[in-house]
């Protein structure tokens, strides 16, 4: 009976569900934006080809961190028992502008390890004066393999476009460390961007060496460094994102939730309004308030569930659209935890929202069935 009731005005049902679905999609997009950022910022550190990574003492991130290691640090670390090799990596933020658009970027100067892992177009760096840039950054600035770009006042050629190296405030650009040092020594840069040019050491352990033991040994012997696993750095970078955007996203999600309560309430309310006579008749023939309330609750559950499914579809479509038009943003709309959290929120929304139509039903006068 509830189904027939709902389907009597399919346009209203659809419109109502779409409205609720849009709010759900909004919440999923906020969540998806946070998760997407986690995915983006953790990709580079998590996938570093190293057993351990050494940073400047006191530095525990790659994202947004400025890490400067003394020149002798490499030799010191390689001298620690259990360490097979330590590959240098330089990383520093720079602002890139093509005259029209501006974007902060993170330049990674790598030796043999730490370069771009996954290329979407072009090839790896083969010559001096070549760079590999993040694909989303390339899309934003309309660059492609063989495009000419200028960083730090020096012209480079784009050799390839990389994936998993993006986020909206710090996309990566890769250059060979040896090229950077050569250019710097040749006075090609107005000044060396990083004094020393050494930010991190990618540490490869001897086969069979125990990671924790070697780690402790390095930290004890080389006071200038702290040592982390790649996944610890990734986690720290994710936490940095949460610190940065967490409060703002929480506020937005709360507002969206409140909007959801009202929207679900409105949808149920107008549905009841369209059936005032029906409810009046049910009351007249003896239906108790609890029975009618149950009717509304079931309807709320049906509408919310369908709207959740619709909202998930809408969120997925929007996320795809966002990524297609704004490639520097990654929205992960259907992360299972986020969906579960949103489903809980939707249930809470519906539970609060039903109060609105239930109140309306309570004031329907059963004697109204006799009037015209």
């Amino acid at each position: 009976m509830i189904w027939r009731s709902l389907l009597r005005d399919p346009a209203r049902l659809l419109l109502g569900m779409l409205t609720v679905a849009a709010v759900i999609a909004l919440i999923l997009i906020f969540e998806g934006f946070r998760i997407g950022l986690h995915v983006q910022v953790s990709a580079f550190p998590r996938n570093l080809p190293a057993d351990l990574v050494a940073t400047q003492a006191g530095v525990s991130n790659i994202l947004g961190a400025r890490s400067v290691l003394p020149q002798g640090a490499r030799a010191d670390v390689e001298a620690v028992p259990g360490v097979r090799a330590a590959y240098p990596l330089a990383g520093f933020p720079v602002i890139y502008s093509d005259g029209k658009l501006t974007s902060p970027i993170y330049v990674v100067a790598y030796d043999t390890a730490g370069g771009p892992r996954h290329l979407l177009a072009g090839r790896d760096i083969a010559d001096a004066d070549e760079v590999v840039i993040d694909a989303a950054l390339a899309a934003k600035f309309h660059l492609a393999p063989s495009s000419r770009v200028e960083f730090l006042g020096h012209p480079f050629t784009v050799a390839g476009l990389s994936a998993d190296t993006s986020n909206f405030f710090d996309p990566y650009v890769f250059v060979r460390l040896v090229d950077l040092i050569d250019l710097s020594l040749a006075g090609e840069f107005a000044d060396r961007p990083m004094d020393g040019g050494l930010s991190f050491l990618l540490i490869e352990l001897q086969p069979g060496a125990d990671r924790n033991t070697v780690r402790a040994a390095i930290e004890q012997r080389v006071s200038a460094v702290d040592v982390f696993t790649p996944s610890e750095l990734a986690t720290n970078d994710e936490r940095r994102v949460d610190d940065f955007l967490g409060p703002a996203l929480n506020v937005l999600t709360m507002v969206a939730f409140a909007a959801g309560v009202l929207v679900v309430g409105l949808t149920l309310y107008v549905s009841v309004l369209g059936r005032v006579r029906e409810f009046g008749i049910m009351k007249a023939i003896g239906a108790r308030p609890a029975f009618l309330a149950r009717h509304v609750l079931i309807e709320a559950a049906v509408v919310s569930t369908l709207a959740l499914v619709l909202g998930m579809g809408l969120a997925a479509a929007t996320a795809t659209l966002i990524h297609a038009t704004l490639p520097e943003y990654l929205v992960v709309p259907l992360d299972p935890t986020a969906v579960a959290r949103t489903a809980t929120a939707v249930t809470a929304m519906a539970a609060l929202a039903v109060l609105i139509p239930i109140r309306r039903i309570a004031v329907i006068d059963p004697a109204s069935v006799f009037s015209r």
Partner: protein, 371 residues
């Protein structure tokens, strides 16, 4: 009278009206907040270059920002800048992004090394304590102090060293880059740079010298540097901040706007259906189609307008509340954003009402004769 009829119709089901207005309002609030957060954050981001006391900002050649940039100038370069005619004083600062740690918590901040005897480059407004830190000392932003529950005398760790907090500044916090001050010497040591090196030079123009002229003169006299007037530096940083956010603001505006549109469409559509008979009667009495379109449009317009009004009220009311509960978030509502949203809301109302307009056109006046 027709307007009175429309108004009374709207008021007949007050709960539905309230829920509609509320739904529209809150979806617009989402848009306002996203916009406001970015505008607020952008304002905060540019506060340092705006208030630090420089007429001209000098930085490494190829760099034209303070926010999110790396700049380093050797002592000789600094000396060359100081010698340019029109430079009354040149205050060097060092600048690095780092994590501050205390009691297990970590917070990102720009750490700025300032000379205690210099007037420029340090905090311009204090909540408590001393403005300029000496060796082993730090001045942190008030919001950070609140979040981390730190006060004068507390210690924080940065870049591997422990600092004692001697001052709490205000107007120096943003989500992306709060500003913490330490002694120049401490930071030089931590960054392993020689004394005399500067990330940025804060230039005071000599009396009678325009900032723009001075900046141009410095640029031509010292090719290793870039020089920007304070306004240009602020604008450059603001542009970066806004450009980073513009995409996501656009997305949120679309989705928030879609929710508002659907709420209006749902409300006007159901009102039209519920009142189909009355609309038929009104047609039978001799009212034209356009009058009926008008009822739908006015209904949608009223809900949209009231929704917008409530959204503004909520957005402004939320500001001081957020200031207390979530001080990391700054909300600024530039008039142009408010106007833009008003225009968007109006368009939404018209579009959403059109959906019901079609329905209205199809109402048969002969419905009045039916039971």
């Amino acid at each position: 009278m027709t307007l009175r009829w429309i108004a009374k119709n709207l008021l007949e089901e007050r709960a539905a009206l309230a829920a509609s207005i509320g739904g529209v309002a809150l979806s617009l609030v989402v848009v306002l907040l996203v916009d406001g957060m970015f505008a607020g954050e952008s304002e905060r981001i540019v506060t340092y270059p705006e208030r630090a006391g420089a007429d001209v900002w000098v930085m490494q050649s190829g760099v034209s920002n303070i926010h999110m940039a790396t700049s380093l100038m050797r002592g000789e370069v600094v000396g060359a800048v100081k010698a340019v005619r029109g430079v009354a004083s040149a205050t060097p600062i060092l600048n690095v992004g780092a994590f501050l740690e205390s009691r297990g918590g970590r917070w990102y901040s720009y750490v700025i090394g300032v000379h205690p005897e210099e007037r420029r480059g340090g905090p311009w407004a204090m909540v408590s304590g001393r403005a300029l830190p000496g060796p082993g000392e730090a001045v942190i932003p008030d919001v950070l102090a609140q979040k981390a529950k730190l006060g004068i005398g507390s210690t924080i760790n940065a870049l591997g060293r422990t600092f004692t907090i001697v001052g709490i500044s205000t107007d120096t916090y943003s989500m992306a880059n709060s500003v913490t001050f330490v002694a120049y010497g401490d930071l030089a040591q931590l960054l392993s740079v020689r004394d005399g090196t500067a990330s940025y030079l804060l230039i005071e123009a000599a009396p009678g010298t325009s900032s723009a002229d001075l900046a141009a003169r410095i640029r031509s006299a010292v090719p290793d540097v870039n020089a920007l007037t304070r306004e240009a530096a602020v604008e450059s940083d603001r542009r970066i901040a806004m450009q980073m956010g513009i995409g996501i603001i656009g997305v949120m505006t679309w989705v928030g706007g879609l929710v508002a549109a659907l709420v209006i469409a749902l409300t006007t559509y159901t009102a039209t259906i519920r009142r189909a008979r009355e609309l038929g009667v009104v047609k039978a009495l001799g009212f034209r189609q356009r009058t009926l379109y008008l009822t739908v449009l006015v209904q949608g317009g009223v809900i949209a307008a009231l929704g917008y009004g409530v959204a503004l009220a909520v957005a402004y009311a939320v500001r001081p509340l957020l200031g207390v509960s979530t001080p990391e978030v700054a909300l600024v509502y530039p008039p142009v954003s408010l106007l833009r949203l008003a225009a968007t809301t109006a368009l939404i109302a018209i579009a959403a009402s059109c959906l019901s307009g079609r329905h209205v056109a199809r109402v048969d006046p002969a419905i009045a004769f039916r039971e």
